[in-house]
Amino acid sequence: MAKIEIHRGVSMNAQTVVVDRLHDLQHDLAKYIRMPLTFLPSHSTAYDLRDALHRALRETYRRGDRVIRADELWGECVEWLPAPVKQLESFRRLEHTVKRALAWERAIDDPAAALERSVLLADFSAIGAAIDLLIMDVESEEDLL
């Protein structure tokens, strides 16, 4: 298996690097897309919920001064992932899950769109679970890369 040199003197194989990148996605996207909604008080108004949805999808993560949207985080990762990973069934499931979550963006600017916190949370939480499955697949497929 190919050895990739990353950072100062730490040698990792390609599989480990991919898993590491997926852990990043777990943190940057899966954690932070949920956060504005999970930490919303139970008595929140419809306005609060829409504002939380805005932050979840359009101000998802911050790197220094740069604010990154959820679709950017996903796009960066997809572009980076090696082709064999994208052939995995668990990747396709993740892709489907993320697209379903990102589709909620249309509702942000549509005052008529009905928003239900539990539904949003279910859709957003599914991303973390789908990333976990993909990580397990990558770790178990020894000859993937």
């Binding site: 950072h7 100062r8 943190h27 930490f39």
Partner: protein, 543 residues
């Protein structure tokens, strides 16, 4: 009452925003001034801030991952990997905080899974005042901050109760304060001398809110065939020797608390009756036709884990379930909270000097030292110490080392006994000298380390209760005892193994190196390992 003050350490702004917007019951500290985001963005900034301002912080909220410039990352360990340093930066920052502030409450904003990935779970679990937010909802965060804050305000002692600062005892105290107020039985398990009956009466019963009496049933001292009558009562003539009606302890404790001491001694047939009483809350005295209602809070204790007694067929599984495995409280042995030994010893010294039998001796010595009335006795370790209207009891390093290395098989009871005797003997010697007309003036008395050794000798020393190395082969038996962390258990096992080897080779490290590493020349490495796991070679040789 002022609001608890929260310091957020996070490279992002989300947690500070959450506290500011949704947790008005807490005050968010603005460490960089009112115009900057209310958080510290990295480890160096946090350590520098806390150096001067820790007193004004009640709880720290600390994120785990920090995406900051390389020069702002604290190293996680010596083999630096920027990725790992960044991902688990919260742990590196926590270590930095703990260097200067061991008791500052810190809530780590991460999942247990991340701690496991960083191999830091055990390390953090053994730390005092460190909490993990394993979840991401507002109420969990609110509860975790509140628990951290409340625990930090608990005093180390509460009347006669010496809690100390070990994480295990903090958890135990919190748990007991909750269990005391409920109706479920409380099951206390712990070695002899850990203070089960003391906790039952002085803490659980007192905090139960019940007006009735505290009744003790010492089931180890009652003949097996009389236990049923003792527990449930009996009518006249119901058994040989029952010359009159007698109330059982359940009835005597009605409206109060019944402490079933050493419950593992209850015979199996009586256990069944006990189960029914606990379930139905009604008791039928032996020979009586009618049952009587009883309202009793039951505290049971055992000096052996009851599930072991169940496995051995000596205790009913259904009774154990009724007593409530969920309300089982394990009192840790003193050796597992040895970090509190100094505090416990100091408290016990002060209390011993106030004991009615010792107080006259103390007063005599205090008067000779011209201390004001009401002066107290205080433990002093080593030479340093200020004259502050106390009679200082100086324990030299040699004596302290003996206490610190002792295994305390008799736990707190043994420590209290040893300290009581140290105070008594030292005061008696001083009082004798004063009565003999000697000019004893200094407000300090020194404990003879030889006396410490003598008192400890009777109760099993550091090595005496450990199995010896088997001379016939390479097998060495060790005793695995439950500990607070896997690392603690592992070190304890390693200690026993090394002690056994030390005995086998009469302290010859070359031979030990030959045995362990196949190379006699690596004696130094073995000796270093002894030091690392806390075995003091010089003291072992003296023994």
């Amino acid at each position: 009452m002022r609001r608890p003050r929260i310091l957020v350490i996070d490279d992002g702004l989300e947690y500070a925003r959450i506290v500011a917007q949704h947790l008005p019951e807490f005050e968010l500290i603005e460490p960089l001034g009112p115009d900057a985001p209310a958080r510290l963005p990295d480890g160096p900034a946090a350590i520098a801030y806390l150096k001067d301002n820790a007193e004004s912080v009640d709880v720290v909220l600390l994120d785990m991952r920090f995406e900051v410039a390389e020069d702002r990352l604290l190293p996680l360990n010596t083999n630096r990997s920027l990725k790992r340093d960044s991902r688990f930066q919260g742990i590196a920052i926590l270590r930095g905080i703990r260097d200067g502030h061991p008791e500052l409450p810190v809530v780590l904003l991460t999942a247990q899974r991340d701690l496991a990935l960083a191999d830091a779970g055990d390390d953090l679990a053994s730390q005092s005042m460190t909490y993990v937010l394993d979840g991401d909802d507002l109420d969990t965060l609110r509860i975790r901050i509140n628990t951290a804050f409340q625990n930090s305000r608990m005093s180390l002692a509460e009347g006669d109760m010496l809690w100390g600062r070990s994480p295990a005892m903090r958890k135990l105290r919190f748990r007991l304060s909750t269990l005391a107020r409920g109706t479920l039985p409380v099951l206390l398990e712990g070695e002899t001398g850990t203070g089960k009956s003391f906790l039952a009466e002085r803490y659980v019963h007192r905090n139960s809110g019940r007006d009735g009496p505290f009744v003790v049933a010492d089931l180890a001292s009652i003949p097996a065939d009389l236990i049923a009558a003792h527990l449930f009562g009996a009518t006249r003539g119901s058994y040989t020797g029952a010359v009159s009606d007698r109330q059982g302890v359940f009835e005597l404790a009605d409206g109060g608390t019944l402490f079933l001491d050493e419950i593992q001694n209850v015979p199996l047939d009586v256990q069944r009756q006990l189960l029914v009483v606990l379930q139905e809350r009604r008791v039928r005295p032996l020979g009586a036709a009618k049952e009587r209602n009883v309202d009793v809070k039951v505290i049971a204790c055992s000096n052996e884990p009851l599930d072991q007694a169940v496995k051995a067929g000596r205790f009913r599984q259904d009774l154990l379930m009724r007593l409530g495995p969920a309300t089982r409280v394990q009192i840790p042995p003193l050796r597992d909270r040895i970090g509190d030994l100094e505090f416990f010893t100091a408290e016990l010294v002060t209390k011993a000097a106030e004991h009615p039998e010792i107080a006259p001796l103390f007063e005599l010595v205090a008067q000779a030292a011209q201390l004001p009335s009401g002066a107290r006795m205080r433990l002093q370790l080593g030479r340093d110490g200020n004259a502050d209207n106390t009679l200082r009891l100086v324990l030299p390093a040699a004596g302290w080392n003996l206490l610190a290395e002792h295994r305390w098989p008799g736990n707190m009871r043994e420590l209290a006994f040893v300290v009581h005797n140290l105070v008594t003997f030292t005061l008696v010697e001083a009082a004798d000298a004063i009565r003999a007309g000697l000019p004893i003036r200094a407000p300090r008395l020194q404990i003879d380390p030889g006396l410490v050794a003598e008192l400890l000798k009777g109760s099993g020393g550091a090595m005496d209760d450990l199995p010896a190395a088997n001379e016939d082969d390479d097998r060495i038996s060790v005793v695995v005892r439950p500990g607070q962390t896997l690392n603690g258990v592992s070190v304890e096992v390693e200690k026993q193994y090394f002690l056994a080897l030390f005995r086998r080779y009469d302290g010859d490290f070359s031979q030990m190196a030959g045995h362990l590493l196949g190379d006699d020349s690596k004696a130094r490495a073995v000796q270093l390992r002894f030091n690392q796991i806390g075995l003091k070679v010089r003291q072992l040789r003296r023994r």
